[in-house]
Symmetry: C2
Subunit: 344 residues, 2 copies
């Protein structure tokens, strides 16, 4: 059995779900993969939780939030590099800080620090990869380390596994995806006849939409995921500014309703298609009319989906995958296992 | 750039498509993966095609069939072990002989020979794995070799990649699949009103059904694929006799037509579900009524699909993937790349 030290960044829902899941699956992971992941540190800007022993969820969270004051494991001023260096190579950073799509921080610094210290990386946050995917991929490759980011690209829906592993050797001719559950839920409710505002309110009341839903409904969450999938699977080197984005906030409910009457469906579609002139790819997120034969037509509610169009394998469509912190935590765990397991 | 010798068994459509695809993709595979696969031998019961140089499709096939008489590369009496041994470890057997679900031969002997000689294996034929999956998996693992069989489990639809890689760490609670394109095509046509015989005739005229379609329509092709997926992803150790199988040949057209009128759909569903009493799994292939909310409801014609139900990731559904020799060849190439590429 191999024991792998984990440094966890971020103290939100995904971090919490991850620590909980790790404990829940501990004996199963040992039995099936001969692996054990120990959360040795939880890293924050001002210090770390660190006790020299693996941390459980009750040593990290208290009363629904991160536990610092009075926590015997809290080390004020301790930095992430204080974890990496003494532990040696071969641990894994699990990066769950909020995605800042403009600076990529604080995740970017954490990830660079990990890779430069010989640690692998599994990240659920998008910012660093949106800003610096090529640089990070090269850095990882030059060290023989893994840089995994299923958790940042639709999480439990295995977009990258399929694009990178299952379609290896095939020529991808286009990608279309419904990559944001919140906007898809709102569109589904609008097709049922609700106004945009009422649909958003309903999404908020179920905890599906965040208090500020702008990243989701304006299309930037979809755009960031599309960008990461394209840069990884199509080997493009594009930036978020290269993605043409329009969201669903200005969509008249009559347009969505009419579509349903005609047997069609309006989806916030994220797509990568070859440029009509010359080489390169055009990335776009916009409300799109799909007819019934489209493989993503039936993706409703908070569900997500993606279709890869290829030269040799036809089209391959993935749908489903839980859209919640537990699903994201499961995607992180999946990446961890695939980094450390033996060959298949 | 790494050059990998390939020994190819079988001289049918898949072998032909594989050699053709390899040549077509040669420069692309070199550029993207720094790999080159050379078909050094094509192996038959009576001898091998072998010239010491990589073989192209025109050195293997002539007038639509395998080329032996007068082929300057033909070595009567040469055996596959004569290829493995001198080449040393690290090559790959690509196994494409017809699937014999009773004996597993000749694939079984070829695969054992390859693994015992330190060669990896990618197989598109099911027989050997149906007969001896555990034994072959252990043999591969004990040698640190890969045993890949995407080509045998719905080919371009990446059932195993998702079940083994993307769902690593998740608990699979059930699997349902439409794993045979021919029977699904016939059922789709029956829902349109054709009789079973007319639908089969149409499938034959399009080259979808083989002259003897019994393996497909009686459910045994689906059962074999289900068995391989279950034994790999659920870690069961079941035999083909453990799968309860009923096919579509006796299905009244009125039953299929009535289902459509009620907004339902009849599919030849292959399913793995936990046994109601005690531990273990119940595997079954039978015509099943699906309602519109089922993720495989919309899988029509020759398309295939599979849904994994999990504890942490929700349900993940895959649909599509080309059902022809080129799709199977692409699945073999995918497996080869994933065996030899660097870490992701």
């Amino acid at each position: 059995m191999k024991r792998i030290p984990i440094a966890l960044t971020g103290s939100g829902h995904v971090s919490r779900a991850f620590i909980t899941l790790l404990r829940e699956k501990e004996s199963d992971i040992e039995a099936r993969y001969e692996l054990r992941f120990d959360v040795m540190a939880v890293v924050r800007a001002e210090g770390c939780l660190f006790s020299g022993q693996p941390l459980g969820v009750n040593q990290v969270f208290k009363s629904g939030g991160p536990w610092i004051d009075g926590n015997p494991s809290w080390r004020q001023g301790m930095r992430i590099s204080d974890i990496f260096k003494p532990a040696g190579r071969g641990g894994c950073l699990v990066e769950c800080t909020p995605s800042d799509l403009k600076s990529g921080e604080p995740g970017l610094s954490y990830i660079i620090g990990a890779l430069e210290s010989g640690w692998n990386v599994a990240t659920a946050s998008k910012g660093a990869l949106v800003i610096a995917f090529r640089k990070l991929r090269s850095l990882a490759a030059s060290q023989g380390l893994a840089l995994k980011f299923s958790g940042a690209t639709a999480a439990a829906l295995p977009t990258l596994d399929v694009g990178l592993v299952s379609l290896a050797g095939a020529g991808i001719e286009g990608i279309q995806g419904i990559l944001n559950g919140t906007s898809n839920y709102i569109l589904t409710k609008m097709a049922d006849g609700l106004s945009y505002e009422d649909a958003l309110e309903e999404a908020r009341s179920w905890g599906i939409a965040e208090p500020d839903p702008s990243t989701d409904v304006e299309g930037w969450d979809s755009a960031a995921k599309l960008l990461l999938i394209a840069n990884a699977c199509l080997d493009t080197d594009l930036a978020l500014e290269d993605v043409k984005v329009s969201g669903i906030a200005d969509l008249p409910v009559s347009y969505v309703g009419e579509a349903r009457k005609e047997g069609k469906s309006v989806k916030l579609l994220a797509s990568a298609a070859p440029k009509k002139t010359g080489r390169g790819w055009r990335l776009e997120v916009r409300p799109t009319l799909l007819d019934m034969t489209h493989p993503l037509f039936h993706v409703n509610g908070t569900e997500k989906g993606i279709t890869f169009f290829t030269d040799t394998m036809g089209s391959v469509t993935l749908t489903g995958g839980r859209s919640n912190p537990r699903g994201a935590a499961a995607a992180l765990l999946k990446d961890l296992i695939n980094i450390y397991r033996g060959r298949l």
